[in-house]
C-alpha cells in the first residue's frame, strides 16, 4: 500500500509538521512518496493532488491538520469520493492493509474516538505536535508538483503576524492568561515571560478574556479555540473551565499559577504555585532569563 504525504513549506523550507507526517506515514506498511504543492490557487492545488493520488494508485493520502491542511484535505478527498479521517493523534494498519485504525480526540479531547477507515484511498490529516519526527524524517526530498489547472479560489496576499510573535498552535512553550490578569494591559507580564524563552514561547488566552475582547481569538486555547500540545504549558490566572482543560490537557508538562488553591486547573497541572501572579510571574521571568542568559 503506497502512501502519498502532502508536505507543507514556508519560505521555501519544509515546516516541522512536514517531518512529523513523514514519520507517521512511514509507520504504515509500504512506501511513502512526499510531495509539495503551491497552495495559492486552492482549487488548482486540490485538483493537482487528487490527480496525483489517482494516477499513482495510492492507498493512503496524508495531510497535516494545519490551517492549510484542514482546508485542502477535504477538497482533495471529495474529488476522490471519500471523507477525511481528520485530526488524528495515532494510526495503525489492520488486516495487512484492509483498514486503517485511527485515533482522534473528539469533544475537544474529552474523549478519544477509534475509527476504522476502509475508504480507498484513505485520506488522513494528522494533528501537529503529536508525532515526534524520527532521525530519518529529515531524509526526505518531496516532489514539487506544478499546478496547471486554474481554480476559482485564490490567495491574494498573506499578511504575516508581527515579527517575533509565534502561533500558539506551533509554540513549544505556551503561557496562557485568564481573568486573573484583571485587565488587558497586564498581559504584558506574560509577554515578558514568553520573551524570556527566546522565541520558543507564545502567549495564549482563555475563552473568558477572548470573549471580553482582551486578546485575539487566534490566541484562544480550548474547545472553541485551539487544541494545543506544547512541551510546557503555563496557565496563569486561569481557573480551568472544562472547555479550557479540553484544549490543553495533552500538553507534556502543565504548570498552574493561581491565587485560588481549589481552582480546577490544579487537578490537571503537574506543578502548581498558589499565590499572586503579579509577584510570581515576574520572578519566574527573572529565573528563566538567567537560564537563557
Amino acid at each position: 500500500m503506497k502512501t502519498l504525504a502532502v508536505l507543507e513549506q514556508r519560505d521555501g523550507k519544509l515546516r516541522k509538521v512536514s517531518f512529523e507526517i513523514v514519520t507517521a506515514a512511514r509507520r504504515l506498511d509500504g512506501s511513502v512518496d512526499a510531495v509539495v504543492c503551491d497552495t495559492t490557487d486552492r482549487e488548482g492545488c486540490a485538483a493537482t493532488l487528487a490527480d496525483k493520488a489517482k494516477a499513482g494508485g495510492y492507498g493512503v493520502v496524508v495531510f497535516a491538520a494545519t490551517a492549510t491542511g484542514r482546508d485542502l484535505a477535504p477538497r482533495v478527498a471529495a474529488k476522490l469520493g471519500v471523507g477525511v479521517a481528520s485530526d488524528l493523534t495515532d494510526l495503525t494498519v489492520e488486516g495487512g492493509g484492509d483498514a486503517i485504525v485511527a485515533t482522534r480526540p473528539v469533544y475537544a479531547g474529552k474523549a478519544l474516538q477509534k475509527l476504522r477507515v476502509t475508504a480507498r484511498p484513505a485520506v488522513l490529516s494528522l494533528r501537529p505536535n503529536i508525532f515526534t519526527p524520527d532521525q530519518r524524517a529529515a531524509d526526505v526530498t518531496p516532489e514539487a508538483l506544478s499546478v496547471t489547472a486554474s481554480g476559482r479560489v485564490k490567495v491574494r496576499e498573506v499578511k504575516p503576524a508581527p515579527a517575533g510573535t509565534l502561533d500558539v498552535a506551533e509554540a513549544q512553550v505556551i503561557i496562557s492568561g485568564g481573568r486573573g490578569l484583571k485587565e488587558p494591559a497586564n498581559f504584558k507580564v506574560l509577554e515578558e515571560l514568553a520573551q524570556a524563552f527566546g522565541g520558543r514561547a507564545a502567549v495564549g488566552a482563555s475563552r473568558a478574556v477572548v470573549d471580553a475582547g482582551w486578546r485575539a481569538h487566534a490566541d484562544q486555547v480550548g474547545q472553541t479555540g485551539k487544541t494545543v500540545s506544547p512541551s510546557l504549558y503555563i496557565a496563569v490566572g486561569i481557573s480551568g473551565a472544562i472547555q479550557h482543560l479540553a484544549g490543553m490537557r495533552t500538553s507534556k508538562v502543565i504548570v498552574a499559577i493561581n491565587k485560588d488553591k481549589d481552582a480546577p486547573i490544579f487537578k490537571v497541572a503537574d506543578y502548581g504555585v498558589v499565590g499572586d501572579l503579579f509577584e510570581i510571574v515576574p520572578k519566574l521571568t527573572d529565573e528563566i532569563r538567567k537560564l537563557h542568559g
Binding site: R42, T66, A67, R70, P74, R75, A77, A78, V82, G83, V84, S86, V101, R104, P105, V106, Y107, G109, K110, A111, L112, Q113, K114, L115, R116, V117, T118, A119, G151, R152, K154, V155, R156, E157, V158, K159, P160, A161, D167, A169, V210, H217, A218, Q223, T224, L232, A241, I242, Q243, R249, K252, F266, A269, Y271, V273, E279, I280, K283, L284, L291
Partner: protein
C-alpha cells in the same frame, strides 16, 4: 440574497462527557445540547448579509435527530426565515455521507451563499462545508474570520499559522465561519415567540454506512495528580528546579 446556513446540534462546550455502555458513543443522559458555537457565527453572518442586501431569505438546514428541531428554532429565533431538518437518529461516522445528504438537500435551490461553521465542537471533523462545496461544484473558503462581499465577488480572511491569508472568490460560494467573523446576536423574546410560528420542514433521511466506522470511544488518559510546589514568589526557585531536573523541559 438567498442564503442557506447549515447547523448542528452538539453537546454544550461545558458538558461533561460520559461514555455509553456500548463503548462507542456519548451517554446523552443529562447532557445539555446547544447550537454549535461556530454555526452561530454562520447564522449571524447570514442574517447580516440578508439585512445588508435589503431582501432575501435565510434557510437553516440541519442533519440530526428530532431534538435538532430545537437547534433550528434557536437559529430561527435569531432571525432566520425557515428551517429544514434532515431527520435521522444516526449521524454517519463518515463525514462524506453527511455531506452527500446535505448536498442533496441544497442542490435543488440556486443559493447565493451557503454558510457553515468551520467545525462542530463534538466530532471536530472540519470538513462538511468543503465536502458539500465540492459535491455542488461551488467555490469554497474555510475558517473565515472576515468577509467582504461586493456583488458576486467575495474577499475573505482566514487565520493561518503565523499570519492571515486573504482569498478572493466568486459567488455563489460556500463559506465556513470562524470565531471573530462577527458577534452573534442573542435571540430576543420577540424572536423566540416569532420562531415558534416559522416553517420547519422535517424530512426523514437515511445515511449510507460509508467507509468509516467508530469502533470505540474511550476517556482520555488521566493525567497523574500533580503537586503544589508552594506559595507565592518564594516557590519559583523550586518550580524552576523541578522543571529542569524532573520534567526536563527547560
Amino acid at each position: 440574497m438567498k442564503i442557506a446556513v447549515c447547523v448542528k446540534r452538539v453537546p454544550d462546550s461545558e458538558a461533561r462527557v460520559k461514555i455509553s455502555p456500548d463503548g462507542k458513543s456519548l451517554d446523552e443522559a443529562g447532557v445539555k445540547f446547544a447550537l454549535n458555537p461556530y454555526d452561530e457565527f454562520a447564522v449571524e453572518e447570514a442574517l447580516r448579509r440578508k439585512e445588508k442586501a435589503g431582501s432575501g431569505e435565510v434557510v437553516v438546514v440541519s442533519l440530526g435527530p428530532a431534538a435538532a428541531q430545537e437547534t433550528i428554532r434557536t437559529a430561527l429565533a435569531m432571525g432566520a426565515d425557515r428551517g429544514v431538518l434532515l431527520q435521522t437518529d444516526k449521524i454517519p461516522a463518515d463525514p462524506f455521507e453527511t455531506a452527500k445528504l446535505i448536498a442533496n438537500e441544497l442542490k435543488t435551490t440556486a443559493w447565493d451563499l451557503i454558510l457553515f461553521g468551520r467545525m462542530a465542537i463534538d466530532d471536530y471533523n472540519h470538513q462538511v462545508g468543503p465536502l458539500v462545496a465540492q459535491l455542488l461544484d461551488l467555490p469554497c473558503v474555510t475558517a473565515v474570520s472576515h468577509l467582504d462581499i461586493e456583488g458576486t465577488k467575495g474577499v475573505a480572511e482566514r487565520e493561518i499559522e503565523g499570519g492571515i491569508e486573504v482569498l478572493e472568490f466568486p459567488l455563489p460560494a460556500v463559506v465556513t465561519a470562524d470565531k471573530g467573523l462577527n458577534e452573534p446576536r442573542y435571540p430576543a423574546l420577540k424572536g423566540i415567540m416569532a420562531a415558534k410560528k416559522k416553517a420547519l420542514e422535517i424530512r426523514p433521511v437515511q445515511a449510507a454506512a460509508g467507509a468509516m466506522e467508530i469502533v470505540a470511544l474511550t476517556p482520555p488518559p488521566e493525567r497523574k495528580e500533580g503537586k503544589i510546589v508552594g506559595e507565592g514568589a518564594a516557590a519559583v526557585g523550586e518550580l524552576v528546579r523541578l522543571l529542569r531536573e524532573e520534567a526536563k523541559v527547560l
